[in-house]
Amino acid sequence: MKLNEYSEGEEKEMSVHKRPLNNNMRMEFDSVSENVALARMAVSGFILPFDPTMDEINDIKTAVSEAVTNAIIHGYEKFKGTVCLKCELKNDLLVVTVKDNGKGIENVEKAMEPMFTTKTEEDRAGMGFMFMNVFMDSLNVQSAPGFGTTVIMTKKMGITKQDVRCECGNTETEGTHPFGR
């Protein structure tokens, strides 16, 4: 039976059954700011088969952009190093790891405070960690001066799925089937 022979409701069921999906990706790139866009593209490509919503794509892209930017401009500053981006999808949990071998963070707690930046002269807002925190479900930062920084972020996929899918005017989310029972 072809896909378009299903009623809308059944088609939705099918896309739910397509999960779970497990996948892994690992990439390394030079610490130049052009590569922030590359990291964003890679991570959106990685989650694409999982059928993410626009919001999920934007949230994850933003968080990755922040983490990779930090690695490049704070971790390595003017020096050239390698940034490692790792993505894992286990069932519906996305785990993103961004690792650098740069100078590390002296005071992680302080660095994570909103508006805190060591680069005031460069018009940095000091909101990188805040956005990672807001857009992902969990954020873990491991760092020590001279030992680089590892940022691990997780996000459960599919939570915001329903309110975006039912563009037919039904904005109810949890527990209600968008096409009625």
Binding site: S33, E34, V36, A37, R40, M54, D55, N58, K61, T62, S65, E66, T69, I72, I73, E122, D123, R124, A125, M127, G128, M130, F131, V134
Partner: protein, 101 residues
């Protein structure tokens, strides 16, 4: 240069690019400073019609420009933001700072 601009009297309009990250942010900041000095700019409009993605580098641009423009006694306005861009300005408190609804 990856963005367009327009000077009308003492107002500079910057048409922000499709994606705003650290890479393009430093360009926008640099060029807008040159343009402001050259044209006696007092007010600034940043137009986000083309912008589909922005990270905190964009917030940095806006806060930085806001400080400069208010010092000059002018006004900074943001326009045509998509929903995800607007959300970034809301979360960061920039919307409140600029006194926008």
């Amino acid at each position: 240069m990856d963005f367009l601009y327009e000077v009308k009297g003492d107002t500079l309009t910057i048409y922000a690019p499709k994606e705003i990250d650290h890479y393009v942010a430093s360009e926008i900041i640099e060029y807008s400073e040159v343009l402001m000095a050259k044209n006696n700019i007092k007010n600034m409009i940043i137009d986000f019609e083309e912008t589909e993605f922005m990270d905190s580098s964009g917030i940095g641009i806006v806060i930085g420009r806001y400080k400069i423009i208010t010092k000059l006694g002018g006004k900074l306005s943001l326009r045509k933001m998509k929903r995800n861009i607007e959300r970034m300005f809301e979360i960061s408190g920039v919307k409140k700072l600029l006194g926008e609804k």
